[in-house]
Amino acid sequence: MTRYIIRRLLLAIPVMLLVAVTTFLLLHMTPGDPVSVLLGPDATVEQIEEMREALGLNDPVHIQLLNWFRDLARGDLGESIFLGKPVTEAIAERAQPTLLLTLLASLVAICVGLPFGVISAVRRGSTIDVGAMLAAMVGISMPTFWLGLNLIFIFGVKLRWLPVQGYQPLSEGLWTSLRYLIMPALTLGAAQGALLARMTRSMMLEVLHEDYVRTARAKGVSERRVILRHALRNAFIPLVTVIGLTFAVLISGAVVTEQVFGIPGAGQLLIRAVNRRDFPLIQGIVLIVALLYVIINLIVDLIYVFLDPRIHYS
């Protein structure tokens, strides 16, 4: 198993290299200039040129790429043009809100998606099934920002139960922090919950027709045990993949939600960086998100072993 993990991590290196080169080249091919934004609208062409020179942005692209790789090899992701601090530090500062939001949104997705998927499969064709799948369809189709703004209007403006925007760190108290994250987590978790419900339903329907389920029922095992122990556990293997990917999608997909709710997380950092063409910061965030995908996929593969004893890696 250890060898497998090491091999997978080694295989991740070319993936990361590909991501790094592609991101760098795409960014430098995209029009837009960080210096024009940084110096403001009154800046003269002469001032802009001087600052570009000082930041090394006038160097040929391959030289800039080599410089960046040289720094990367030392574990240095560079310095943000706008924040004036190391990219790693900037990302670390924004990690807490994004991770908390992702965890809560995943919780929402799992708590909504799994039970409704299972019930829909068990009660196939019933009113609950039709209602749940209709709700899932709406959930998948609804734009995140639209749902977010409506939640703000209802729970923030009309009912005044929750703050309309912002974030308080955990150090300010668990409930204080949670109050700011409930609506964003619901917004972000809704679509993934809907997706999970549909996936769970179809997996369960497949498994419920397997011979071993029929055998279990014939043995007189209770329906509850049949569903939870025999069907759901077997349906869980593909579902773990979906949940893992959901987590990865949520981490990188919190961009819109963080923007709407004014959460100073990594997603907001990314969108600001893109708007300002803060090249080192964008490259750093994309690299870290890519790394997270690699790690989450590895963890998902390892979980298979615990769920299904037949799977083993040599």
Binding site: T30, P31, G32, D33, P34, S36, V37, L38, L39, G40, P41, D42, A43, T44, V45, E46, Q47, I48, E50, A54, F82, L83, G84, R94, L149, I152, F153, G156, V157, R160, P163, V164, Q165, G166, Y167, Q259, V260, F261, G262, P264, Q268, L269, R272, N275, R276, R277
Partner: protein, 564 residues
């Protein structure tokens, strides 16, 4: 060209300016400056730069008038205490107004940093960090007498060395600073509280430049440490000092207890400033709807740039006051006048200008008529530099004539490259209507939509575009408009323009200066440099417990307080 002194307009201006008597201000300024020459030309000076966003009107429904000229509270009227929460449109790109000209930087840092002169209610310069200025050799030499006992936030006293170091940094970093300092031949310390600023030619306009937010005075050690970059520490002389800056979360300012307050009554950015709030917290909130919601739910005390579509809903809120900000910015389409663009053909530009009906364009950009006003002026009617010179070229709405002019100009149907962005709704919406009107006159428009960062980058390339839209402040002195120098995208090269700019910079007689401004504006229109459409207001809102705010053009919160 004769300047337009319209008595009716003057009456209107005076009504709008229910404020400190202008002559009284002039007397005060003259005394403070210690010389008549500069005092005379002060009547005709202001400031300016460009920014995307905003839109508005002067006769709004339940909203307050904007002019920076509403009654100021008597000093000492307010109550100290409380934290003011201000929802701003985004994180300032830097917290250094010399380093960046972004408006959000200027607005937030205005509480922290101060300048030698500062804008008064009529946008003209008044001494702030200066005790007085002696003007010698007909405006060639300014002897700057600094106030004594003014402390920086680090406890050090402001002295001549700090002023010289700050101005040297300004001369290097700021575009306006570079322009002004091209004329400077000496910046010398006379003693700890006196600086001699010598020009190579009369430069009566100097205080207009030095009142702008990029000409801040900071400690010599900080200025020397960041001669060509953003300053590392935010130490000024203002009534508030920086406590904490967490990018994208908030900027926290707290009262500076040792602030050296002037004795005069509050007067926009000049006069006495009192820090009533214990803390001011600027919170970046990029979503317009969320800024509105937070204002309604009392999570913010003040919110800028609100959606005009929400005006009625916000107006119905009993605890919310609204401000329609005018004078503010004027908006229009710039032509690329460089040789690399087909728009270098003046006749072609004039043909397109002739086609335009301004009202539908203004309506598309800023909504109903409360939020915009039409006119050919560069400087707003409320300013001392207003003139309607060039009005014969404005709002001609004649597509048939424009079609003939296009043919006469040799236009062959080559697509005109228009760069636009949806990031600022006015930019896209006005662009669509202008495009439609130009096409009806026979022009072919290649309307390219991109994000703002791309647009800003692309407009610097002479061969990459023909037209783009942006806004410029209408409340600053016209000489400060960024589009006048030939270095700014648009690249207007004209020898008479250069002469007029020099005359304006040197002139100390306000009437004479207005004549030059009128001629410059006439020339600007006759050359069809841009299609100026309208002035557009921005909508701001605040909780009604906020007192002493007085609806200024550029928002600030010294002299404001809470009253439950």
């Amino acid at each position: 060209m004769t300047p337009q002194y319209d008595p009716e307009r003057e009456k209107l201006r005076q009504m709008l300016h229910r404020t400190v008597d202008r002559r009284m201000l002039m007397r005060g300024t003259a005394a403070a400056l210690g010389a008549g020459a500069l005092a005379r030309f002060l009547a005709a000076c202001g400031g300016g730069e460009e920014e995307p966003g905003g839109g508005g009107d002067s006769t709004g429904g339940g909203a307050a008038q904007t002019p920076a000229t509403t009654e100021s509270p008597a000093a000492g009227e307010g109550k100290p205490g409380g934290t003011l929460r201000v929802a701003i449109i985004g994180e300032p790109p830097a917290f250094d107004p010399t380093f960046t000209t972004a408006t959000i930087t200027q607005n937030t840092t205005a509480h922290v940093f101060e300048t030698l002169w500062a804008q008064d209610n009529e946008f003209s310069p008044q001494p702030l960090l200066l005790e007085s200025a002696d003007i010698q050799e007909e405006g060639k030499v300014f002897v700057l007498n600094l106030r004594q006992g003014v402390k920086f936030h680090n406890g050090e006293e402001m002295k001549a060395d700090d002023v010289i170091a700050s101005l040297e940094r300004y001369a290097k970093l700021s575009g306006r600073g570079r322009t002004l300092f091209e004329r400077v031949e000496g910046l010398d310390k006379v003693d700890d509280y006196t600086v001699r600023l010598a020009f190579n030619a009369p430069t009566g306009i100097a205080p207009v430049f030095l009142q702008m937010p990029d000409a801040i005075i900071i400690p010599k050690s900080i200025a020397d440490a960041a001669p060509d970059s953003e300053m590392g520490e935010f130490i000024g002389t203002g009534p508030y000092m920086v406590k904490e800056r967490l990018p994208d979360r908030y900027i926290s300012l707290v009262r500076f207890e040792d602030y050296a307050k002037r004795d005069e009554p509050p007067n926009y950015f000049a006069g006495g400033k009192t820090a009533y709030f214990d803390e001011i917290r600027f919170i970046p909130v990029s979503e317009q709807a969320v800024r509105s919601d937070g204002l309604i739910t009392d999570e913010f005390d003040f919110a800028e740039d609100l959606s005009k579509d929400n005006f009625e809903a916000l107006e119905a809120e009993p605890s919310v006051e609204l401000q329609i900000t005018l004078p503010y910015y004027f908006y229009g389409a710039h032509f690329n006048k460089s040789e690399e663009s087909m728009m270098s053909n003046r006749d072609l530009r004039m043909a397109l200008l002739t086609a335009i009906d301004m009202e539908p364009v203004a309506r598309a950009g800023f909504g109903d008529e409360r939020f915009w006003r039409l006119g050919p002026e560069i400087s707003a009617p409320e300013s001392a530099w207003y003139t309607d010179a060039g009005k014969q070229y404005y709002d001609l709405k004649d597509p048939d004539k424009a079609r003939e002019m296009l043919q006469a100009a040799g236009y062959d149907g080559t697509p005109i490259r228009w760069i636009a962005t949806k990031e600022y709704s006015y930019n896209y919406n006005m662009g669509l209507v202008l495009k439609d009107q130009m096409e009806k006159a026979g022009a072919v428009i290649d309307f390219q939509v991109m994000d703002w960062a791309t647009l800003v980058s692309q407009r610097s390339q002479k061969d990459a575009w023909d037209i783009f839209i942006t806004g410029h402040p209408s409340y600053n002195h016209p000489i400060l408009q960024v589009f006048l120098p030939e270095t700014w995208p648009g690249w207007w090269v004209n020898s008479r323009k250069d002469e007029l700019m020099t005359l304006i910079i040197e002139e100390t007689d306000p009437a004479k200066q207005l004549e030059y401004i009128a001629e410059l504006q006439e020339l600007w229109w006759s050359e069809a440099c841009m299609i100026k459409v309208c002035e557009g207001a921005t909508l701001r809102g605040y909780r009604s417990r906020l007192k002493g705010y007085n609806n200024p053009t550029d928002w600030h919160f010294f002299n404001a307080w809470f009253e439950e």
